[in-house]
């Protein structure tokens, strides 16, 4: 019973109209471009309200079961809704760890009880979720996580530390990788996966001030924190497998995620638009031949990424080193973004030296802040250097 093209088209028109009508006015402060930039209560409340509104309108969790707050329709409806959110430039659905990581996992592997307890709060933005994979001493090396979870009766006792916990200070729940068996022969086998409450004694968060000067992450400290034993997902020792499974959902609604736009997409054309009134040597900067050469390179790089996405779905055109397009995507996209934003600052002329807070800063200092924030993506989730190793080893088959 799959939806007809006509139905989908009508649906697209409906969402688009709704987004246009409901796109919130500029709140007077810079909104987060990604869920990693929710730095204060003001931003949090704004985004919570917005996500709730989208969910109330029926445009979030569309493919999740009705009984848990979803709408029970096909995933392609959600994909269309997500596209229209992007296309209309509305704010993000900020509860990303819930919508895109924890939620789909619970949907797939969780008990009835867990589904009833967690899913709706994820969708309606009442329960903020965070993620506890990274630890201070091995940022790119998840398998080495050391946070200790010791079973004690019907509880686990947690000791250790997590870092880069996005919205750790706002979150009610954390998906967490902890070491239940330090003696396991393979380090991966000693890990377990928890849906841990955050608001229990012994769990404390300390906001991390980012390079931008703003907040968004926390360090999270566990000191004899006790959580119910049934917070574990699966069995002890399955943590690594479930963590890897969790990462699969990132690919959107079709892969199980609830949907919603998780980051504002910034394209090269946005940079170019912003440069239309910038002068260089008394002429429009966009008329400068060297700048033009740079901008065309940037456009081409972006275009190539988009075309690569299209090509990745065409089997006969992906027989060379299969998997190279998806597996290199993170490396390429994040590095491209970083360089593009750096270029945007450079081309602003003297105003490039202004920052968020200056009335004359272009788009309120958007590009400066965006450049700094871009490192969260070239570092987080495996640095670009590690990503390049992964591509080299998994795709090209080069030795470790």
């Amino acid at each position: 019973m799959s939806a007809s093209d006509k139905e989908l088209k009508e649906f697209r028109a409906e969402v688009s109209a709704w987004m246009k009508e409901n796109n919130p006015a500029n709140p007077g402060f810079l909104l987060p471009q990604t869920f990693m930039e929710v730095g204060d209560e003001r931003q949090l409340e704004f985004l919570r309200e917005w996500q709730h509104k989208i969910w109330s309108a029926g445009y979030l969790g569309m493919a999740w079961p009705k009984e848990y707050g979803g709408r029970g329709v096909e995933a392609n409806f959600q994909s269309i809704a997500d596209q229209e959110m992007r296309r209309n430039g509305v704010p993000i659905c900020f509860n990303v760890i819930g919508l895109g990581w924890a939620g789909p996992l619970i949907n797939e592997m969780g008990t009835e009880e867990e589904k009833a307890k967690y899913l709706k709060g994820i969708l309606n933005a009442e329960d903020v979720w965070c993620q506890g994979f990274s630890e201070p001493d091995h940022g790119s090396d998840l398998g080495n996580a050391q946070l200790r979870a010791v079973r004690d009766g019907d509880e686990y006792v947690l000791n250790g530390q997590k870092i880069w916990t996005t919205m750790g200070n706002f979150a009610k729940y954390m998906i967490m990788l902890a070491r239940t068996n330090p003696e396991a022969p393979r380090k991966y086998d000693g890990l377990s996966y928890f849906l841990s409450p955050m608001l229990v004694p012994g769990i404390e968060t300390r906001p991390i001030r980012k390079i931008t000067g703003e907040y968004g992450f926390t360090e999270t400290f566990f000191t004899d924190a006790r959580i119910p034993a049934d917070c574990i997902m699966g069995e002890e020792g399955q943590g690594w497998k479930i963590a890897m499974q969790t990462l699969q959902y990132e690919r959107g609604a079709e892969a199980g995620a609830a949907g919603g736009q998780s980051m504002v997409r910034v394209v090269v054309d946005d940079m170019i638009s912003e440069l239309r009134d910038v002068q260089r040597d008394g002429e429009p900067v966009l008329k400068d031949p060297v700048v033009r050469d740079q901008l065309v390179k940037a456009i081409m790089e972006e275009r190539a990424m988009m075309l690569g996405e299209r090509r990745s779905h065409i089997g006969p055109l992906t027989t060379d080193y299969p998997g190279s397009l998806p597996l290199s995507n993170k490396l390429r996209a994040t590095e491209m973004t970083r360089r593009m934003r750096q270029l945007a600052i450079n081309l602003q002329g003297a105003e490039g030296a202004l920052y968020v807070g200056d009335d004359e800063a272009r788009q309120g200092g958007f590009w400066q802040r965006a450049y700094f924030n871009s490192f969260s993506a070239t570092i987080g989730g495996g640095t670009s250097q590690v990503q390049a190793n992964i591509v080299a080893e998994h795709i090209l088959g080069l030795p470790k």
Binding site: M306, L317, V391, L398, P399, K400
Partner: protein, 375 residues
């Protein structure tokens, strides 16, 4: 949040079959030993092999069925040319295809009916477009005078020595026109072969002085300039497709060496200084391939519109810079071996120098893209 431009990319089952067949054929028929055997021959290719390719219908892929071709269009030529580039297989296919396109786009039906069947049947043809060494200068200086006699030369005419027919851009009565010249009309010594850095390629400076062009071999009118512009873009795309194949082959060569060569007790592929640039070559080649098939998609109907022009130029700009980088790194990463003629890296670095110049280098195309994208 703005539009990302046209990002259409389709690939039909027909194209997929062609790609598979072409890749298999080129791999089997053009191993590197065969490529090397042709480096110092006069024509640079093996006639028997060309005949097989003609039998497969490749010379007529983009020639209409009514003229003896299969009418599959440029979109079907791209996978074939990519496959040939991958095997470094030199033949007059690109030259012939461009000659056919130029005739199709500017000629009348008498001319196409007369000339295209021979091209589709494997009789090589070529185009003579370049009056000087500057692809960015489109001024045509080769004169066809009032008596329809040609005065002057063209440079870098590809496969000139084997072409039966040359389609030549000329200036006639103050307008750009095309002259169709038969090989047997050329004077002795009119073809002066170039010594090319890419020994798999052949081109020549051709002196057309004294050749008489009869009425039926003359093409005039407003279509000529458009057809010439289109042909240059198609040329850019085909060179890009060929360069994409060459980059892919070059990447394979590098990867193979990095997996087998040891230094300081370790496989050299384990060193990030070699590993990461090799990933760059992979991702850049991925982009080349996306660009050429995007352009192929937009050219399905044969019309070179603004989006197709953008696609062809992007393909050329990207694919040659990728091959330049890949060829350069291939030599370096092979160490001392890379410095030898015996190492295949030399084939790719040489091809890169040829490809970058054909139909304008990367900067040439980016300059024109800027006008299309920024103004």
């Amino acid at each position: 949040m703005s539009s990302p431009g046209n990002t259409t990319l389709r690939f039909s089952e027909e194209q997929a079959m062609l790609l598979e067949v072409a890749r298999e054929f080129c791999r089997n028929k053009s191993p590197i030993a065969e490529v090397r055997a042709q480096l110092e021959t006069q024509d640079g290719f093996d006639q028997a092999l060309w005949d097989e390719m003609v039998l497969l219908g490749w010379a007529g892929i983009a020639v209409p069925e009514a003229c003896g071709g299969s009418g599959l269009g440029i979109g079907a030529l791209v996978p074939v040319v990519e496959s040939m580039g991958r095997a470094m297989l030199g033949t007059p296919l690109i030259s012939s295809a461009l000659a056919a396109q130029l005739l199709l786009r500017a000629g009348n039906s008498e001319q196409t009916d007369r000339l295209l069947p021979a091209i589709a049947g494997g009789s090589p043809a070529t185009v003579a477009l370049l009056d000087n060494s500057d692809w960015g200068d489109e001024t045509v200086t080769l004169l066809l005078d009032e008596e329809r006699i040609l005065h002057g030369s063209k440079k870098f005419v590809p496969d000139a020595s084997v072409a039966s027919v040359v389609v030549v851009s000329v200036v006639h009565q103050g307008e750009v026109a095309l002259a169709i010249v038969q090989a047997d009309q050329l004077n002795d010594g009119a073809i002066c072969p170039n010594t090319l850095i890419d020994q798999t390629k052949r081109s020549a400076n051709v002196d057309f002085s004294g050749v008489m062009v009869d009425e039926k071999n003359l093409i005039t009118g407003p279509k000529v300039a458009v057809a010439l512009g289109d042909t240059r873009l198609l040329g850019a795309l085909l060179v890009a497709a060929e360069a994409t194949g060459a980059s892919a082959a070059c990447l394979d060569t590098i990867v193979e060496y990095l997996k087998t060569r040891k230094q300081f007790g370790k496989l050299i592929g384990s060193y990030q200084a070699l590993k990461h640039p090799t990933v760059d070559i992979l991702t850049a080649t991925d982009s080349s391939r996306s660009f050429i098939y995007h352009a192929a998609t937009l050219l399905e109907e044969g019309v070179v519109d603004a989006d197709a022009e953008i696609a062809c130029r992007m393909a050329k700009a990207h694919a040659v810079e990728t091959l330049l980088y890949a060829g350069d790194r291939a030599v370096q990463f092979h160490g001392g071996m890379g410095f030898t003629y015996e190492c295949d890296a030399q084939l790719y670095i040489r091809r890169a120098q040829w490809s970058q110049q054909q139909f304008g280098d990367a900067q040439h195309h980016r300059k024109r893209l800027a006008a299309l994208l920024l103004d």
